[in-house]
């Protein structure tokens, strides 16, 4: 089977065209760096069936990050290249095109966003471009599917051209003269969306806007999530429908192993969805009653943030903050994705330029960013003790985030280079693509998370029955009780936490903890180690050696944070005061310390200038 590879600059619509060609469902957003791995699909034409590959976006065939390495490798394997070109930035896009043409692989060019270019007053003559380049050129509007059939038709006539390798300067001058021949630009007035675009990049308007967007996002996720959880699920589904059904089943089963596994332990003769720990009680409740409502609302809002094109602007506004912890603005993207699920977040770190920043970003994200499943459980269970205890949890995570970032930035050699990030235009999110994306993400939850939730609960019951829990509890009691002030049994939550963090938080419930102990348990669970799914991705992305370092940091951080909280919370300070102290401390650290990368990067520039002066002088002598 011949291979077709889709290649192009970031955010030009490769994945949209891929899904139009293959019918496959892939993640599509309006920011550079959505695709970080290749996706495989099939394209059937009358004559032939092709294997078709969607690649991460790249500006050139000399890779500058891991995602771009993937593309360079794919190009080497290609039998046919479909080069997707953004018609609104012809010149820059054609630079990659000239590099691709030199490979001598049969090629087709899709001139995408042809409508948007027209709106911007850019008129391109595709026939003329085709004539000059010697390969088929097809205008397309991927999002509405226009021109996609023409791509398929022209694949049959994909041609290669004989070209000699040229230098970058020669390429630019060739591209310049090409653009001069095929493109006419007329001036257009700025639209309101362009005015808003600029406003969100200026600090005086952009920073308040960023704060507002983040505030509203979390407010809506928490508000809507709690509403659905409370009213729809708790009262109606679980209270009036599912609860009575389970009580009947419980009576039917009688006592014994299957009652323990399916229904779990009765609390004062009743089923308790939080505490019983049966697959059909707590398992169903955690998956659908607690996690699902928060997940749906979070992913709906994340989808809007992604497709509107706001994320890169947020990256610009967050750049200063992220620089304090050895990262740069774009690293806010994996952090935000991590609030949904840490797995795609660890993958998104591939867009970062250096190994150093990938390590810092992945480690900090895995330790301090709880996924939505975990957050939902925290809200559901800790929330009952009042907002102050919730505040302590998130303040602690924020403080760890700041301290850990500064420490790793300070002690890792080298520096994190500043970002270069293309800012896409704002686009209004399409409802249909929003729903598709939500369906994909929920599908992932049902297929990859829910089985683990049930598996985790089944596993707990086996452990209890086999007496392993008592054994482990006795073994680890010195650490768990001595340092963290938790009952020895809490050690088993750490075991389950490796499978699913949400189930592990739920397991704290039957231990009859004080609110303070609950907070300690939650923080330790959030930070000590990533879940198995994230762990396997991290090993792959960081390598075994770096993952070991990362894991050591996790365990040390977790034990320290747990011990400190155990000593301070409710003993020395009430929760709200402690939260305030932590937040102030973190802010103070961010303002006063950190920024090692900044200093090293500027020092590097100074030494470059000095060297330059010396060679100039040498030239004069």
């Amino acid at each position: 089977m011949r291979k077709i590879v889709l290649v192009g600059n970031p955010n030009v619509g490769k994945s949209v065209i891929f899904s139009q060609l293959t019918g496959a469902r892939v993640m599509i957003s309006n920011y550079p760096g959505t695709t970080v791995e290749f996706t495989r699909g099939e394209l059937k034409t009358k004559a032939e069936t092709f294997e078709i590959l969607d690649s991460p976006g790249t500006y050139s065939l000399t890779p500058t990050c891991r995602a771009e390495e993937v593309t360079a490798e794919l190009v080497d394997q290609a039998d046919i290249i479909v080069n997707i070109v953004n018609a609104t930035n012809l010149e820059r896009n054609l630079f990659l095109t000239t590099q691709l043409l030199e490979r001598g692989i049969p090629m087709v060019i899709a001139l995408n966003m042809f409508d948007e270019a027209a709106q911007k007053g850019i008129k391109i003559n595709p026939e003329k471009l085709e004539e000059l380049l010697g390969v088929p050129v097809v205008p397309t509007i991927a999002i509405s599917g226009e021109g996609v059939k023409d791509i398929v038709r022209s694949i049959a006539s994909a041609r290669k051209v004989e070209r000699n390798p040229s230098s970058d300067a020669e390429r630019w001058s060739e591209v310049g003269s090409l653009v001069g021949k095929v493109q006419v630009v007329s001036h257009r007035h700025r639209t309101w969306i362009e005015v808003l675009q600029d406003a969100s990049l200026r600090p005086l308007t952009g920073i308040p806007l960023a704060a507002l967007v983040l505030y509203l996002t979390f407010k809506i996720v928490i508000g809507a999530g709690e509403f659905i959880h409370d009213v729809l699920f708790n009262r109606i589904v679980f209270g009036m429908l599912y609860g009575p059904l389970m009580n009947k089943l419980s009576a039917l089963l009688g006592e014994g192993f299957w009652h323990d596994v399916l229904i779990g332990q009765l609390v004062e003769g009743e089923i308790c969805f939080e505490e019983s720990m049966g697959m059909l009680t707590t398992g169903v409740f955690v998956s659908f009653g607690l996690v699902l409502p928060f997940l749906v609302t979070f992913y709906l809002l994340l989808g809007i943030l992604e497709d509107s094109g706001y994320l890169p602007r947020l990256a610009v506004m967050a750049d200063r903050l992220m620089h304090r912890i050895g990262l740069h603005g774009y690293a806010i993207v994996p952090m935000i994705l991590g609030l949904g699920c840490n797995v795609p977040a660890a993958l998104a770190a591939r867009n970062l330029e250096s190994k150093r920043e990938r390590f810092i970003a992945c480690t900090i994200m895995a330790i301090t960013v709880p996924c939505m499943a975990q957050t939902a459980l925290i809200f559901g269970l800790v929330g009952r003790y009042g907002g102050a205890y919730l505040a302590v949890i998130f303040a602690t995570l924020f403080l760890i985030w700041a301290v850990l970032g500064m420490v790793t930035d300070r002690f890792m050699p080298g520096y994190t280079p500043s970002m270069v990030l293309e800012i896409p235009p704002y686009r209004i999110p399409h409802l249909s693509s929003q729903l598709k994306k939500l369906a994909m993400r929920l599908n992932h939850f049902f297929c990859h998370a829910v089985p683990y939730i049930f598996g985790g609960i089944f596993f707990i019951n086996i452990l209890y029955t086999a007496g392993i829990i008592d054994f482990l509890a006795a073994l680890f009691e010195p650490v768990v009780k001595g340092l963290l002030g938790l009952p020895g049994e809490a050690v088993t939550t750490l075991l389950i936490g490796f499978l699913r963090k949400d189930v592990a938080v739920a397991m704290l419930e039957p231990l009859n903890l004080t609110p303070g102990q609950f907070v300690v348990g939650t923080i330790v669970l959030a930070t000590y180690f990533p879940c198995a799914a994230t762990f396997s991705i991290l090993v792959r992305e960081l390598g075994v050696k770096d993952m070991l370092v990362s894991a050591a940091l996790m365990i040390v951080t977790s034990l320290t944070a747990g011990t400190v909280l155990n000593l301070l919370l409710d003993r020395l300070l009430p929760p709200l005061h402690l939260a305030a102290v932590f937040v102030l401390l973190a802010l103070l650290l961010i303002i006063a310390a950190g920024g090692t990368s900044d200093r090293r990067e500027l020092r590097d520039y100074e030494s470059y200038l000095l060297k330059g002066n010396r060679t100039q002088k040498a030239g004069l002598d």
């Binding site: 500006y59 990659l96 990049l201 330029e353 500043s418 293309e422 800012i423 900044d598 520039y605």
Partner: protein
């Protein structure tokens, strides 16, 4: 004609890039994005206290962190 780093331009000012003061790696990173000597750019905004600079090149916008922006030298059109 005065030649200044991108970081010292004022928002709204236009100019032509004259040099990238950096090694092969930096030039290889910036050039494919169209940030290269001879290119006309307009500075849109910058975040204070060594924040990133946003510029517009042709029809698109690029944000560049301070550490890289300071290495991009621009010949500014005097008004």
């Amino acid at each position: 004609m005065p030649q200044i780093p991108l970081t010292e331009m004022k928002p709204g000012q236009s100019g032509t890039i004259t040099a990238i003061a950096g090694g092969q790696g930096l030039r290889a990173r910036l050039q494919p994005l169209g940030i290269r000597p001879g290119k006309k750019i307009t500075k849109l905004s910058s975040v204070f206290h060594q924040g990133p600079v946003t510029i517009s090149v042709d029809n698109y916008q690029i944000a560049i962190g301070y550490g890289k922006a300071i290495r991009i030298l621009v010949e500014v059109k005097e008004k």
